[in-house]
């Protein structure tokens, strides 16, 4: 694959012909998808379509059986592990909010900051002003300033979702993969989340998986519909939602 040496794509994320099967079950089937730098993309599709698995592949959790996965046109992600991929600048919010429950909100953000992550670095770490200012800023953005000393485990479901987005902000990756961010949120929270993601998209590339069509519509970005591990349709929300096949398998009549 000479894509390794010479850049053949301008995409920041490039998936081509990816296959994954779990014990003979084809979760991802010839999946091809590209994400341009600075883009925000919404991914929709029925449960089991392979949306989360796609994120697992990009972040190194699952190794594909076949196919090309490139970051920034040159880096083959299939050869790297989770830590290395995170270091490259791909951050992820999980479908099930995963925060460090026994630690405070503030410490969750501190852990996420993209500073020295070596054993020595953390052992001899001394806080500094720049770091605490960044944490303050993120806390403000995710509206958890008042909860900064609370244990993350005591937050409401929606707040945990936000904390996880905040951790992404602290991590400040080039690409953010956000899996079902508004699940379990109220309408107001959903709206605020859409605003927040749009804000984040100003200087980050974002991929959002979401079922909530109102939310997707509010994002107002290009939409990809996955089905049975492959791309069913791609385009504006109106194009995709009027697509016959999409209506059939996903939206329902």
């Amino acid at each position: 694959m000479n894509a390794m040496e010479t850049r053949t794509t301008s995409a920041i994320l490039y998936l081509d012909g990816v296959h994954v099967s779990f014990d003979g079950f084809h979760a991802i089937n010839n999946l091809s998808l590209t994400l341009e730098p600075g883009e925000m993309r919404a991914i929709i599709g029925p449960n089991g379509a392979g949306k989360t698995t796609m994120m697992d592949i990009i972040t190194g959790k699952t190794k594909p059986d076949e196919g090309v996965v490139l970051f920034d046109g040159t880096t083959d992600l299939t050869r790297l592990d989770e830590t290395r991929i995170a270091e490259l600048g791909i951050g992820r919010k999980f479908q099930k909010p995963t925060v460090f429950e026994s630690q405070t909100v503030q410490d969750n953000l501190l852990l996420a900051l993209n500073v020295d992550h070596s054993v020595r670095g953390t052992l001899f770490w001394r806080g500094n002003k720049a770091e605490s200012e960044r944490i303050d800023k993120v806390l403000e953005t995710i509206r958890l300033t008042d909860a900064r000393h609370r244990l993350a485990g005591s937050l409401s479901h929606g707040q945990k979702q936000w904390l996880e987005i905040g951790m992404l902000l602290a991590q400040d990756p080039k690409v953010l993969l956000v899996d079902e961010p508004v699940a379990g949120m109220t309408d107001v929270e959903t709206h605020l989340t859409a605003e927040l993601l749009k804000e984040i998209n100003r200087n980050h590339t974002v991929m959002v998986v979401e079922h909530d069509m109102t939310f997707v519509r509010e994002l107002g970005v290009k939409v990809t519909c996955l089905h049975e591990g492959t791309v069913l349709a791609e385009g504006t929300i109106d194009q995709v939602s009027s697509n016959e096949r999409v209506i059939e398998v996903y939206l329902g009549r």
Binding site: T98, L111, H117, L123
Partner: protein, 390 residues
């Protein structure tokens, strides 16, 4: 529960812990040496040695709590590191016997003469020097832990699988050290020690000094553990314990963290074993038996996992009970009692003694705090303010 209360209460219990250990470390030897034998306040020498043993167990418990309580690594083979440290010290003590052994060989320990070994095996070289033995006390367990961890953590062996292979490790060592041709005295191990740094190991003064040193080592180990868990690295360890894969996605190399803390913990266990051996006067392969390692984990569970102080307390309490019961008519039932204790603690006090106490204390403080705020508000004639998150 606010973290401020939590840290304050932990700091308080840490201070109390250090004061108690330092106090015992000084007062027990003084009472033994200065007061007349038979006086009510004189601690007899055999008790000094017995408590010295408990203190060594407390260091072992701390080392287990560091990895299990804070990083979720349940080692069921930590007794092996303890025993290796013990053997390193035992080898030094054997070499100190010199020609005073039964066979009077100036170099070879008795068991080697008995087995007709012509000369000292190479791995016994250097153990006649205290500094070398003292180094080996943590280098050997540390190296084994590093190699073991290198393979286990990189292959992402976790949870019960890791616990099982740590058991296998200590069991393999048990079988090895049982063999005469291994060169560590086989079944009988190393014993009949005469002196340490020129002092008679049996002498009261030496016992008192060893007890004092054990207490100092316990405080040292405690301070190291505290420093580790209260650093940012400590937060990473908790993150690994609670959500390992999440920690990876943040860009932390989880296996390096585990390797670091596992190796550090093994070194501490080795030091505990080295202090233990001169006080009990023997080290033999039974120290490697898997049951020992499991017992040590029970001490930590009883005292309170993830509290450090609790681990040390658990080691002393359970071993005190063990001494008490195994010297009475209930001796045959000790293992059943230990098992029952473990089950009861798991069911009734899942946070252990100290964990439960801390929760209760914090709760009480918050209630008192609320009460005070409420009464102050009443005096002001204003409505009670909502309690801020702080």
């Amino acid at each position: 529960m606010t973290p401020h209360v939590l840290t304050r209460s932990l700091d308080r219990s840490a201070t109390i812990f250090i004061l108690i250990v330092a106090g015992l470390g000084i007062l027990i030897p003084l009472s033994n040496l200065l007061l007349p034998a038979g006086s009510m306040f004189q601690v007899p020498t055999y008790l000094v040695a017995l408590w010295g043993k408990y203190v060594c167990y407390a260091i072992l418990a701390l080392s287990i709590d560091l990895i299990w309580g804070y990083c979720g690594i349940l080692s069921l083979g930590h007794g092996a590191f303890f025993a290796l440290g013990g053997y390193a010290m035992g080898m030094y003590l054997m070499r100190q016997i010199g020609s005073r052994g039964v066979y009077g060989n100036p170099v070879l320990p008795d068991f080697m003469v008995f087995l007709n070994w012509p000369e000292l095996p190479w791995y016994w070289y250097g153990f006649d020097m205290f500094w070398f033995a003292a180094l080996m006390v943590f280098v050997v367990p540390g190296l084994l832990a590093f190699l073991f961890g290198w393979f286990a953590f990189r292959s992402r062996v976790t949870g019960v699988y890791l616990s099982i292979i740590t058991q296998a490790m200590t069991y393999a060592l048990l079988l090895g050290f049982f063999r005469n041709d291994f060169g560590f005295g086989g079944n009988n191990g190393l014993t009949d020690f005469k002196d340490i740094l020129g002092f008679n190991v049996q002498a009261e003064g030496t016992r008192c000094a060893l007890f004092f040193l054990s207490c100092a080592a316990l405080i040292g180990a405690f301070l190291i553990c505290r420093a580790v868990v209260s650093s940012k690295l400590g937060k990473v360890l908790l993150a690994i314990r609670d959500a390992e894969s999440r920690t990876r996605f943040l860009g932390y190399r989880v296996e390096s963290y585990k390797l670091f803390v596992f190796t550090l913990s093994a070194c501490m266990a080795g030091v505990a074993g080295a202090l233990y051996v001169p006080q009990v006067g023997i080290i033999n392969p039974s120290e490697f038996s898997p049951g020992n390692s499991i017992e040590a984990v029970i001490w930590v569970a009883v005292g309170g996992r993830g509290t450090l102080v609790g681990a040390a307390l658990g080691a002393v309490v359970v071993n005190y009970a063990k001494t008490f019961f195994t010297s009475g008519p209930l001796a045959p039932y000790w293992l059943f009692m230990l098992g029952a204790l473990f089950i009861l603690v798991t069911l009734l006090l899942p946070k252990g003694i100290i964990g439960t106490f801390n929760t209760w204390w914090d709760q009480r403080k918050i209630e008192l705090g609320n009460g005070a705020a409420a009464s102050a508000a009443r005096e002001d004639g204003a409505a009670p303010k909502p309690n801020p998150a702080e």
